[in-house]
């Protein structure tokens, strides 16, 4: 079965081609069905491959498809690597991708770009599968760029809105900055080791000096910063919410943004060999987690809250990577994919019911009208906030435990982030579903539960969010932490946890306490005291306004990078382009014109004169040759 791995990305590609060329003529039903079926087929094959892999002793299979680049020292086969890491990502991508496809059929039903939407979505899945399946950095890079392209296309899906287009451009440019780092990292790997195939590189990794390994690790991390929205390149992700909600769920929460984590886990040998790089990753992750959580507390747009929550959770994952807990990061990627996709899809269901209203200040009291959405989103909120025994509790707790072992200060930051997470998630949940309805009468009349195609994915994801923790049940709970054992073959260095079960219980106790504090504060403020976020910016306190404006980071980037660059461009255009280059080119033209004006005087049309000058010329030549 593993030999058939090529089928996994092939199905979405076929779906993309069919939908891209004939989607418009086929009609919405058929187009959506083909797109979803292609992902379902991929999912089934992935599942079979996953089960096959369990039975294999070596746990890692390279499937050569064809020879791709073959020139002298650079030999790159187009081959796929099936191992525990890629098989988990395969299941996440195709599984959640399939659910979101089904959901999109309901959500995008009224949209005129229906076929185009599914075309992009299928293409995205194809590239994402390429990214995680490739057996060398170049294939990963192709997938990496491909998902970036699809992200751009889908953020700007409603291209008639200039603001959305700007958001798409911003995402693309920010990603390009990261991609440059990634590309430089790949080039450095090739120059150092002479190959970019994973197995060969990791085998030779220690032949490079420490400096080089640190440089590679940091360059790859720059790439991860861009794709996974870490400080300083995170600002594109909240803006990316301009895209349709299923896109936010699939690309900007569950799959694409975790590509950076996948890449670092894949290259974990560089990070575990470089203290500096690991510390940078941990600190950047912790800072991002905290900062995004703070910003999330002041947002009023339901999708923006979730976007900052995603950035914050990604920060936690990077923190886990930084302290060397690679399998824990993958565990959190998995559970996060479940509950964050669910949250976004739930938000989509709310937005759908509210006729495209995204402002939480105008929602409230939706529990009665949207019971299924309320229930499933409630589960997701509990899961992400760390309610005991739900999926988020286990994965976050494992991260916190590893951070506790490494560094107490970072642990405090992470715990603070958890507190804020519980707070802003409950703030969002209460403002949306509880208290009184604050929308218009027309919206109230229109309120309805979403169709089955939308609620079924919600229910499936809710079950996964409930039970996802079973994948990594800690030993303290008499579990065997399946995911950590499963991933162990691909992790280069592992330091077994030295935490006693008592400490673990204590940490879990603290986490539960933190959850209760955050949730209770939100309940107190928004449910009991019925506080509403300020209706307009004028009513906000200065500090609140500062947070509402995301710490003015965008303005800061504008002032420090964009404006000076623009200024330089304008200056170059004026002085170098217009004056120097154009002056030079036009000068040559003017000179030739003047010279020809002079010489043209000779062309009189008088034959006698021509002959006379010809004879003179001949005489001159003869004289000259005689005299010489």
């Amino acid at each position: 079965m593993i030999k058939l791995i090529g089928l996994v990305p092939l199905f979405p590609l076929i779906g993309f081609i069919i939908n891209g060329f004939f989607g418009k003529k086929m009609g919405k039903g058929l187009s959506g069905t083909i797109a979803s079926l292609s992902i379902a087929a991929s999912f089934v094959v992935s599942l079979l491959i996953f089960m096959d892999l369990q039975k294999m002793p070596e746990k890692s299979v390279v499937v050569n498809l064809f020879s791709w680049i073959n020139s002298d020292t650079l030999k790159i086969p187009f081959s796929f690597l099936v191992d525990p890491l890629s098989s988990i990502f395969l299941l996440i991508i195709t599984g959640i991708g399939f659910l979101i496809h089904i959901y999109s059929i309901g959500y995008m039903h009224h949209d005129e770009g229906f076929a185009r939407f599914f075309t992009y979505l299928n293409l995205f899945i194809f590239f994402m599968l390429l990214l995680v399946l490739g057996n060398n950095y170049l294939i990963m890079f192709v997938g990496w760029e491909g998902v970036g392209l699809c992200s751009y296309l889908l953020i700007g899906f409603w291209f008639k809105n200039t603001e959305y287009n700007n958001a798409a451009k911003k995402a693309f440019v920010m990603n390009r900055i990261g991609d440059l780092g990634f590309l430089l990292g790949i080039i450095l790997i090739f120059f150092t080791y002479g190959t970019i195939t994973y197995g060969d590189v990791f085998e030779k990794a220690h032949t490079g000096s420490d400096t080089i390994m640190t440089a590679i690790a940091l360059l790859l991390f720059v790439g991860a910063m861009g794709k996974s929205a870490q400080i300083p390149l995170y600002t594109w992700l909240p803006d990316a919410m301009a895209g349709p909600t299923p896109v936010s769920a699939l690309i900007h929460a569950a799959t694409m943004v975790t590509a950076g984590i996948y890449m670092i886990v894949r290259s974990n040998i560089f990070y575990s060999s470089s203290e500096v790089a690991s510390e940078v990753v941990a600190i950047v992750g912790a800072l991002t987690a905290l900062m995004a959580a703070v910003i999330g507390c002041a947002q009023t747009d339901i999708k923006k809250v979730l976007a900052y929550s995603t950035v914050s959770q990604l920060g936690l994952m990077f923190l886990a990577l930084g302290v060397g807990a690679y399998s824990t990061a993958v565990f959190h990627v998995t559970t996060h994919a479940f509950f964050k996709a669910l949250l976004f899809l739930g938000a989509g269901s709310v937005i759908h019911a509210m006729s495209n209203e995204q402002d939480m200040r105008k929602m409230g009291g939706l529990r009665k009208a949207l019971p299924i959405t309320w229930l499933t989103m409630g589960i997701a909120t509990l899961a992400i906030s760390g309610f005991p025994l739900l999926s988020g509790f286990f994965s976050k707790d494992e991260i916190l435990a590893h951070v506790w072992e490494e560094n107490k200060i970072l642990w405090i930051v992470a715990t603070l982030t958890s507190l804020l997470t519980a707070f802003y998630m409950f703030r969002m949940f209460i403002l949306t579903f509880h208290t009184n309805f604050r929308g218009t009468a027309e919206q109230k009349h229109h309120l309805h539960e979403s169709p089955k195609s939308m609620t079924i994915p919600l229910i499936v994801l809710a079950i996964l969010s409930l039970a996802g923790g079973l994948l990594g049940l800690p030993e303290a709970f008499h579990g065997n932490n399946w995911i950590s054992g499963y991933l162990s073959p691909i992790i280069a260095h592992r330091s077994p946890s030295t935490l006693s079960h008592e400490t673990e219980y204590m940490l879990m106790g603290i986490a539960t306490l933190v959850f209760i504090c955050g949730a209770y504060t939100a309940y107190n403020v928004y449910q009991k005291s019925k506080v509403l976020p300020a209706a307009s910016e004028k009513d906000m306190r200065p500090s609140e306004r500062f947070i509402y404006h995301k710490f003015k980071v965008d303005e800061f980037y504008n002032a420090v990078i964009t404006r000076p660059l623009n200024g330089i461009s304008v200056a170059f255009h004026k002085f170098v382009e217009s004056d120097l280059i154009d002056g030079l080119v036009n000068g040559v033209g003017t000179m030739v014109k003047w010279l020809s004006g002079v010489i043209r005087q000779l062309q009189t049309g008088n034959i006698g004169f021509y002959i006379f000058s010809m004879v003179l010329g001949v005489v001159a030549i003869i004289f000259w040759s005689v005299l010489k």
């Binding site: 062309q603 009189t604 049309g605 008088n606 034959i607 006698g608 004879v615």
Partner: protein, 111 residues
């Protein structure tokens, strides 16, 4: 018999005379081409220049007892005849259209 006599007569004349004669003829021809305005006279002058060269070729050919130059001369004559035929035809056409063969009038080449 007469051929041999003629040969000796030619050879007894110093080569410098032939050179001077043909140079003079050539110069006359060149001046005619340069200063005359009548196209037919210019043609005649061109023929004069050609024949000055022919004369020189024949003279050298005799002095060196090498016939190849005389072959050259035949070619030049043939080509000149053809050239005159074409040239005169052009001239007569020009005359029909412009009613003049004064080259100062024919300055249309300028455009």
């Amino acid at each position: 018999m007469t051929g041999i006599l003629l040969q000796s007569a030619i050879i007894s004349t110093p080569i410098e005379w032939y050179i001077l004669l043909s140079a003079a003829l050539f110069t006359i021809g060149a001046c005619g081409v340069m200063f005359k305005r009548n196209a037919i006279i210019i043609f005649a002058s061109v023929e004069l220049m050609l024949n000055a060269v022919n004369l020189l070729l024949v003279a050298f050919s005799s002095y060196h007892s090498d016939a190849s130059a005389q072959v050259f001369v035949f070619f030049i004559m043939a080509v000149a005849a053809a050239e005159v035929a074409v040239g005169l035809a052009i001239l007569s056409m020009i005359y029909r259209n412009v009613k003049s063969i004064d080259i100062d009038v024919l300055s249309k080449l300028r455009h």
